[in-house]
Amino acid sequence: MTAGPRTTAGPATSADPVPTAGPGAALGWRGAVVQIGRYTFVSVVLGFFALPLLWLATAPFDRTPTITTSLPEFTLDNFRALLDNPYALRSLWNSILLSGGTAVLVVTFAALAAYALSRVRVPGRDALLYGLLLLSSIVTGTATMVPLYELAFRLNLIDSRLGVILILSGGLLPAAIFILKDFMDSTPTSYEESARVFGASPVQIVWQIVLPMVRPGLATVAVWAVANVWGNFLVPFLLLRNPEKAPAAVIMYTLYTEGGQANLALLSTFSLLYSLPVVLMFVFVSSRYGFRFHGGIKR
């Protein structure tokens, strides 16, 4: 393993009679330096990641919110700004519509496709799946904003929330099918077979037997789709003209870019309210399913 001259400095020299300069002492000294270095590094990392977030935690509750992060003089008055702005709460509702609509569409279509691809042997199925996955990672919204805009224009989907939902669903479906097919593959088919013996129709079997078994998979895909759409800025920014239809991602941007003095009471409370759902969803998923990579994947 550690090829090199240092490998010789092991047990052989630990029998060295010189007490003060023994390798044990040297190791301890070096260990201390490594420890101090490690703690310093972790502190710097903590600072780097906490610093931008502090404002989001303090400003919404500050009697006089400023750009600078400071200890707040506690108040909840700032949240009233949300009610005064005509677009703030409406945009959150729009975000719910867009992400909910996309999640329903993606889960339904992906579940159907995944089930068929899992159970029926279509020639070239694996190639199709990989091709779609490859396609969805290459054809990103940023790389195809020009034709997407054109396409939406021709299909009369400019300024249409349905257009945003359809476009986002198209982008998410390949990965969703891939994930769900994996769930379907790992469920036993014996229930389906016995249901068939008892004369259940294929649609009944899918609806009453398969779907309940892959519910965790459906939930995973739904959460993943919602999280994606909730934060997406580019597609609604490109396609929606009317600010009354704009989701929170776009309204947030217009709140701090539109001219004049930024209303920090509104900006801070709106940021917090808009961020909260993803944070809650994340906490829920991680407490329920454990939000980390498992050793075996990605190999």
């Binding site: 550690t2 090199g4 390798p23 190791l27 972790v42 990392v45 990641f49 610093l51 931008p52 977030l53 502090l54 404002w55 989001l56 569409l105 159907l112 496709a113 068929a116 159970r119 029926v120 042997r121 279509v122 490859l134 396609l135 990672s137 054809v139 919204g141 940023t142 790389a143 020009v146 396409l151 198209g170 982008g171 998410l172 390949p174 990965a175 891939f178 994930i179 994996d182 088919t189 068939r196 294929p202 995973t220 993943w224 999280a227 994606n228 934060g231 997406n232 800025f233 490109l238 776009v250 900006l267 940021s271 944070v279 939000f291 980390r292 990579f293 075996g296 994947i297 990605k298 190999r299």
Partner: protein, 324 residues
């Protein structure tokens, strides 16, 4: 998390990752095929709705980019009503365009600086220094790094604008540099730091999982043998996580290359000094109306994406071969 085609969320990446190589024809799957008696026709019907959306909003745009890229199509004016095919004019014009070349160079800086060096480097360093910690410190660090990753992009963009503000920014207050205009004087550095902050979580988690593949006894032996940290990393750790490193670098490069979030902070400015390719395309094509020219640049982006993705799939395939 805020991309159209997003990073696979770790919970799902687990499922997606383990899917590979499972369904060889001839394994149990073939035996239990079509248990519900679906039949090919109905199976086709099940696949169809999803396939229609995918074809319409992924395949058609990709192909249309190629066509638009060889026309002089514009958003308004004469060329909007009657676009002409101009061959490769857009491509030659782009290569001769100072603004395009500078944008390409900035994009390279952005990907190398914020993804390869920033996210991968910092992510690995955090995973390495927390590898044998299990206390509150580890949980707090991980929570903050993840928070930076999951918050909506327009919110984190404003948080950074506030942090770097010239007159009242928290950073200037902390450093004692009042009046320092970070976003005007160092726009690219600011955006690179921002994206490092934004995306390190993925690398941190991936390397955290990868480091579990390194047997602690091997590290212990190396340490007792007097190997320095650097030697341990080079000789014990790296050979075991090589595959993870490659996967990580390719994925974060792909995502960073397609990241539109810097637009929300600097909008490419000042004077196009942070105008990475996605922002450049947006400004040329959708603000400026030169749809044909913008599509040509988009097609170049698609090609770069394709190269990265193909290298990625190739390495995945090779590793699967190696495991057999």
């Amino acid at each position: 998390m805020a991309r159209t085609t997003s990073p696979p969320d770790p919970t799902t990446a687990g499922a997606g990752g383990s899917a590979t190589g499972r369904d060889d024809p001839g394994t149990p799957l073939a035996r239990r095929a079509d248990a519900a008696g679906l039949g090919r026709a109905r199976a086709g019907g099940f696949v169809l709705p999803g396939l229609v959306l995918i074809v319409l909003f992924l395949v058609v745009p990709a192909l249309w980019t190629i066509y638009l890229g060889v026309t002089n199509y514009r958003l308004t004016g004469l060329a909007a009503a009657d676009p002409q095919v101009v061959g490769l004019d857009n491509y030659t014009a782009a290569l001769g365009d100072e603004r395009f070349r500078s944008s390409l160079w900035l994009t390279l800086q952005f990907v190398l600086g914020s993804a390869v060096i920033g996210q991968a480097g910092l992510g690995f360093a955090i995973a390495w220094s927390l590898r044998d910690r299990h206390g509150p410190v580890r949980r707090v660090v991980e929570a903050l790094v993840l928070l930076a990753w999951i918050l909506p992009s327009s919110v984190v963009a404003f948080l950074w604008i506030a942090l770097l503000d010239r007159d009242a920014g928290t950073l200037n207050a902390l450093l004692g540099t009042p009046g320092m205009a970070w976003l005007l004087d160092h726009p690219m550095l600011s955006v690179i730091l921002f994206n490092t902050w934004r995306g390190t979580a993925f690398s941190m988690m991936l390397y955290g999982a990868a480091l579990q593949n390194v047997p602690p006894s091997h590290l212990e032996t190396a340490r007792l043998a007097g190997a320095s940290t650097w030697q341990q990393l080079r000789d014990v750790v790296f050979p075991r996580i090589r595959g993870h490193v490659l996967t990580n670098l390719l994925l974060i490069s792909l995502w960073t290359f397609n990241d539109f979030t810097p637009f929300l902070i600097t909008a490419g400015g000042p004077e196009q000094r942070s105008e990475i390719l996605p922002v450049y395309v947006f400004k040329i094509a959708l603000s400026g109306g030169e749809l044909g020219f913008g599509a040509a640049i988009s097609f170049l982006m698609l090609l770069i994406n394709l190269v990265i993705a193909l290298v990625y799939l190739r390495t995945l395939g090779q590793r699967r071969e190696a495991r057999r």
